[in-house]
């Protein structure tokens, strides 16, 4: 069969099954289990109405349970068992083994670096871009350009930036932009991604480049929501543009800044693709997610790999809760 037809058929069956589930489940509830007639019609209608939400929520709850809740439990179980002993329970052995590995601590340190640098830079640049583009005629074009990297996948961005950092031997033309500029200025080409410690920042720039657009769009909307009169009052009060920005505007959008910051933080904690595509954790650029991938799928050590996954989850959860809390507060 033609693959296109196959695709269409799949869609038809999938959608049909969903519609069918809701329709028939509802019918059975109303006609068979709690029919709205007979001596107990009123009671039956009430009962059916109590059950209906759960009936309709069931597919979503089931899918989320299967693909989100179950893996958490399973990962936790795996992190407490050992492959070499046929999956026997070994307590926290995997964790202690992981903690004794320098590579894990390197990943931990790098993750913390990412955690501080990327949200800070993205939010700062986003705020700057939002404020500056609001004031100029071609601001919307500038905004689109800054926002565009958001549409690129992390792996794609990694590949693009790998080319920016590309190094060729001294005697042939440099195709990496950075080295080309350096060579043009008379310097010697550098292998940027192999310079320990600093190469972390070269990787972070990629994510900052992507996330600045996100921060800018959200913060730009927030800046526009500030009552114009408060700015005018500050002008009459004698505040200069910097004071207006930092003392009047920024405090008023602080809740939004916090939400943007924590949202980017969540992305950063899970960062994997960029590191995987650009250095694969070599030259001291390892991060937790890539470390987990290494252990789980390359070394096949699902004990330590799962332990790393649990660590990531533990780090993400509080920020996630806080983020949701802040976002809700903002909506009110």
């Amino acid at each position: 069969m033609n693959p296109a037809l196959q695709g269409l058929l799949t869609i038809a069956i999938g959608v049909g099954a969903c519609v069918g589930y809701f329709y028939f489940a509802n019918q059975i509830l109303d006609k068979v289990i709690f029919p709205a007639r007979g001596p107990n019609a009123g009671r039956n209608i009430n009962r059916a109405n109590h059950i209906r939400p759960w009936l309709f929520l069931f597919p979503a709850i089931f899918a989320l349970g299967l693909y989100l809740a179950y893996p958490v439990v399973e990962t936790l179980r795996l992190s407490l068992s050992d492959r070499e002993q046929g999956g026997a329970f070994v307590g926290l052995d995997n964790y202690s083994q992981m903690m004794s590995e320098p590579k894990f601590w390197e990943a931990m340190r790098n993750n913390m670096l990412w955690l501080i640098v990327v949200p800070a830079m993205s939010t700062a640049f986003g705020l700057l871009a939002a404020q500056l583009t609001d004031r100029i005629g071609w601001g919307n074009i500038a905004k689109s350009l800054i926002f565009m990297p958001m549409a690129i996948s992390f792996v794609g961005a990694g590949v693009i930036w790998k080319l920016v950092y590309e190094t060729r031997p001294d005697d042939i033309a440099q195709i990496g932009v950075l080295n080309a500029i350096l060579a043009g200025l008379g310097g010697a080409p550098q292998t940027w991604l192999t310079i320990p410690f600093w190469n972390n920042f070269f990787l972070m720039i990629v994510l900052v480049w992507i996330q600045t657009g996100f921060a800018m769009v959200i913060l730009s909307a927030a800046l526009r929501g500030i009552p114009e009169e408060t700015v005018e009052a500050a002008i009459v009060d004698g505040a200069n543009p910097f004071q207006i920005f930092f003392k009047i505007k920024v405090p008023q959008i602080m809740p939004t800044i916090v939400v943007v910051w924590t949202t980017i933080t969540l992305t950063v904690l899970k960062i994997f693709d960029i590191v995987f595509a650009m250095t694969n954790g070599q030259w001291e650029t390892q991060v937790l997610a890539n470390y987990m991938y290494d252990k789980l799928f390359r070394a096949g050590d699902w004990g330590v790999g799962s332990a790393a996954a649990i660590i990531i989850m533990l780090l993400v959860s509080p920020i996630l809760v806080w983020n949701v809390h802040n976002a809700r507060k903002e909506m009110r």
Binding site: E229, T230, A233, V236, D237, G238, P251, M254
Partner: protein, 354 residues
């Protein structure tokens, strides 16, 4: 000396001219009210004085200094906005002290001035609160306090009471009048409410379409309006206007009053020229008599009542009645007035005939 002088002030937004060469002299310590219907340019004019709108042409000077191109902060003005414009993230105290902090005033002095302003406005219990935790009236008080703290030469109020409910509005109106007496600074106040204008002002500036229609003391404008617009705008309920024609020397025939002829001493134009006859509701009375004028309904406000009269020409007359002698709706009535208190206007250019 901190009077405000505008000479030939013009404001254009692109090609659209909204203020057409305003000349105005506001004395030191005067309470000046800009009044007019919405869109008349009164707020724009105020913002030009504040420096929030650039003055396209002409000059503005405050206390003898030309401030046409000066920054708002250098003009010695403080502004109270309609929406209060309090800084939501600062406490009342910080809100009031912000202006002084920006000019680098020592902390102790800021605190002292904030405390004094808070005393004047009875805001001491709220100093540590955020604006969110205050009522509308309290917020407006804080906004005024913020202006007082800066000790400006000129206070600018941009419709400060229109976000308050009716009762609070009266209360704040009295408060602002008291404040002016206490501080004695020059104040410029924008409103569309002629009652606020009448009660607060030393000088009213009536604006329409970006032009000054008339300037004067409140009672002067009430008793001696220059044109139909001012006559209709000042006074509540508004003046009744009836069409008339000159029917002889010193005589005007008014069809709405059953072709009644009104004798007058004011210089009238030629025979058969159309004029507008203006009658204040307060100057009118009615008594039952055979007449083409009928009572449509009576609105009782307690102290006074308003009779709405229908005339044969379809023009409506409102009469303010002091007593409450019952006249049935639909009854025929004659309108009484003192011919000394009748206003005549040129029907062509709406100017007062006098």
């Amino acid at each position: 000396m901190s009077g405000v002088t505008l000479s030939k002030a013009i404001k254009r937004f692109g090609d659209l001219q909204v203020i057409h060469g305003v000349d105005l002299e506001i004395e030191d310590g005067e309470f000046c009210v800009f009044v007019g219907p919405s869109g008349c340019g009164k707020s724009t004019l105020l913002r030009m004085i504040a420096g929030l709108e650039e003055t396209t042409e002409g000059h503005i000077s405050i206390g003898g200094r030309d401030v046409t191109r000066a920054d708002p902060a250098e003009r010695g003005v403080a502004m109270v906005f309609q929406t209060y414009a309090l800084y939501p993230h600062m406490t009342v105290e910080e809100n009031m002290g912000f202006g002084l902090k920006m000019t680098g005033t020592p902390k102790a002095e800021v605190k002292e001035k904030v405390t004094r302003a808070a005393e004047i406005l009875q805001l001491q219990p709220y100093l540590k609160r955020k604006p969110k935790a205050l009522s509308g009236g309290q917020r407006q008080r804080v906004a005024i306090g913020r202006a007082i703290t800066r000790g400006p030469e000129v206070f600018l109020f941009d419709e400060p009471l229109s976000n308050l409910d009716a009762e609070l509005r009266v209360e704040m109106r009295v408060e602002i009048a008291r404040l002016h007496k206490e501080i004695g600074a020059t104040m410029i106040y924008v409103t569309h409410d002629q009652v606020e204008a009448m009660t607060l002002a030393d000088k009213i500036v009536v604006l329409r379409g970006g032009r000054v229609e008339q300037v004067g003391r409140p009672m002067q404008l009430y008793q001696n309006p220059d044109n139909v617009f001012v006559a209709g705008f000042i006074g509540s309920p508004g003046m009744n206007f009836l069409r008339g024609t000159v029917s002889g020397p010193g005589k005007v025939r008014v069809p709405a009053l059953g072709d009644q002829e009104i004798k007058t001493g004011v210089p009238l134009p030629d025979m058969n020229t159309a004029v507008i006859v203006g009658l204040r509701p307060q100057d009118l009375g009615v008594h039952q008599a055979a007449s083409p004028v009928t009572v449509e309904l009576r609105e009782r406000l307690g102290g006074v009542a308003y009779d709405y009269l229908n005339t044969p020409t379809g023009e409506r007359i409102i009469v303010e009645i002091k007593g409450d002698e019952p006249i049935a709706a639909g009854a025929e009535v004659a309108v009484d007035f003192d011919r000394e208190r009748v206003f005549f206007f040129d029907a062509e250019n709406n100017r007062r005939l006098r």
